[in-house]
């Protein structure tokens, strides 16, 4: 008889280990960029502007003559931290709202459900543009917060559905009959069984948020110099693509790999926790 559960299912899949390995490297990049590049990303030599890859500069130099490789390495931190931070905030909001709505039901559910719908109905990009423009200062935290505000509703819906499903399960009814306080029932019986699919979805969200950050930065609304981020690199490189394609290609490839890994990982996890949805 084969083992059941998420871990035994995923650990035999190559599609699980591949993205995990890639993400591990990226997290290392973000945490210790100095290990991967001894070049200061802000040491720039204008006379070597837009020079293609050469020895000492494996990815070439950008318009300002800065090392593209060093910028890609240091840029991982901004992109990943915004992705993680924003998803964590969104997850926090989603768990609170979703659990409340799912467990309480009735009018609470209706009110919170409509609230979620309001946020879902709001065009994300438009909302982010309005908020970031009126904020003025654009730090990693501000961008993460704005992105979180617009990405929690999907997660909250998922939490609500899962909580509703396990609310009436027999073990929950038993716990209730034994007179456990609600907090304990939620924390020990409902949430542990509801959270799996939500985490899988959250992994997908991280990828989405990273893309959204790049989009906003590309439009001049996200991070700004002197921050180092992939979105910023893409924004400066786009108008010079024909003269210096390497300044666009390398950060673009890193961004694509990161997002692809996160999406693949999210898919694998979702398949494992919820085989019915497997396509």
């Amino acid at each position: 008889m084969t083992e059941r559960g998420v871990w035994p299912t995923v650990r035999r899949r190559a599609l699980f280990w591949l993205p995990v390995a890639v993400l591990a490297v990226l997290v290392l990049l973000a945490a210790f960029p100095g290990l991967f590049s001894s070049v200061d990303p802000r040491a720039c030599d204008l006379s070597a502007s837009a020079r293609p890859p050469s020895s000492g500069h494996p990815f070439g130099q950008d318009l300002q003559g800065c090392d593209v490789y060093a910028n890609v390495v240091y840029g991982a931190r901004a992109s990943l931290s915004i992705g993680l931070l924003s998803t964590l905030i969104a997850l926090g909001i989603a768990v609170v709202v979703g659990t409340l709505a799912g467990y309480a039901g009735g009018w609470v559910d209706s009110v919170l459900g409509r609230l979620t719908d309001v946020f879902l109905a709001f065009p994300f990009l438009l909302g982010a543009i309005v908020v970031l423009n009126s904020l003025g200062r654009q730090s990693v935290l501000a961008v993460a917060l704005v992105l979180a505000v617009f990405s929690w509703p999907v997660l909250a819906r998922m939490v609500r559905t899962m909580v509703r499903a396990s609310r009436d399960a027999e073990y929950v009814q038993a716990a209730r009959a034994m007179g456990f306080p609600i907090r304990r029932i939620l924390a020990h019986h409902v949430l542990p069984n509801a959270i799996g699919p939500v985490l899988a979805l959250a992994t997908l969200t991280v990828g989405g948020v990273i893309v959204a950050e790049s989009t906003l930065t590309f439009l001049g609304l996200g991070l700004r110099t002197p921050s180092v981020s992939w979105g910023l690199q893409l924004a400066t490189a786009q108008s010079r693509f024909q003269q210096a394609p390497h300044t666009l290609v390398y950060p673009g490839v890193f961004l694509a790999i990161t997002v692809l890994s996160l999406i693949t990982l999210g898919d694998v996890l979702r398949d494992a926790v919820n085989p019915k949805e497997r396509s």
Partner: protein, 523 residues
Amino acid sequence: MKRALGAALSCLLVLSSCAPNQPADEPRKAISYAVEEPITLHPGRQTIAFAQDMVLFSGLTFAGKDGAITFRNAESVTSTDAVRWTIKLRPRWTFHNGEPVTAKSYVKAWSAVAYGPNAWENSGQLANIAGYDALNPANGKPAATELSGLKIVDDLTFTVTLKSPDGQFPAQLSQAQTGFYPLPEAAYADPAAFAKNPIGNGPFRMTQPYRETEPMTVDRYDGYQGPQPSVDEITFKPYTDMNTAYTDVQAGATDILYVPNSRMGQVKKDFGDRAHVFQGLAISYLGLPLWDKRYQDIRVRQAISLAIDREAVSKAIFDGIWEPATALTPPAQPGTPRGLCGDLCTFDPVRARKLLAEAGGFSGTMEIRFPGGFGRDDLFNAYANQLRQNLGIKDVTAKPTADFPEFFELRTGAKLSGPYFARWGALYASQQNTLRAIYTRTGGCSNCVPDHDPAIAQLIAKADAQVDPQRAIAGYVDVQKAILKRFPAPPMFFEKNVFATSERIASLDEGAGLTLENTTLVR
């Protein structure tokens, strides 16, 4: 044979259509020009419709490519004391509706432009005419409605009395100072309607009223008395993003474009000899916040100037098109003393560090600010990198504001703490325009260089008072020498006007801005 006879016959019947200067088989010469949405075409109000108004109207004088002033609608503009000017108009000029252009067309128009309650944008161009202050009291409604400094002598002659002597007055009357244009009687009843469908005295006339977001076509005016244009028809195509216009010109869908900063690095590669570079009348400075103690030592300011490799910056960002500034005014202004700045405008990082060290170093962060959305991000990031690396200041950043109004507010309110964007594009080719704008308190380039020394203002006034052009130039050079001794801000670049054209265009002509009517087409 029969057809030839028929053609000859129709020539006899309709003589005008067979005039020798317009052979029937030659197609109309039509060109199109990419513009921003002009909003208004009223010469007293426009701030971004120069191209349109410069072909719909003709000024009294005209500035050519080298900045030389010739007379256009005026036959002569003369004075002996630089205060009282006599302007004689050329005879037989008419507006597009047939109304003759007379002294009254000018005098009435100038009074309307200067009249405070109208609040027309180009009013300031007339500020030195006597009686201007009476039309613009600090509060309340002005008692007068006409400029007291203007007197009509006869149909084609009027006199102008200035508040202070100004030998550059004829240059101020040239084509880009649209506040000095004449207006027909039809302009006054409904200025808003006139702004959409102006009736001018220039080489081209409107074919139909201007409508926002739609291309606007102007047609050659046969009654025009000035130099004949080389094209028959000009279409102004509005774009919200000039990068789109750039690709349109590449594809041949539009003929002429003023190349935006963001495309300057590649325009020569994309267009080859269809990229036209003109001197232009704009100069870029790096403004310094003199209200901040750290910038009050002249050695710090000199160090900043010496630490930026202008040549390398232009080469990397603008493909070498911008020219490193070596004087305080752009070279297209006659008599600009190229090279006057000397060593201080060259790149010398060793001397820069030494000067900074002598001044006691630099403490804290240096935050360079500039208006976002104008394609200048790369330029200011390059400044920041240069200052950080060559001066050894650890934390130098370049930060754009959200838009120009935000930047303007910060600069006007002296709320900037680091170097900043300072640029002046002159409207007429005289050093006076740039020096006045940047170095006098009410000059217009508010806080571009926040150093308003009375001695400098006196030197400018002294040069202004010269009627003889050569003596005026010598006076302005003295002004520049005196300013350079104070070195309030480093001049950075003589900017250039770059145009890209489609394959249909053979040549462009520039005076104070593009002289569209002299464009020639490939045959």
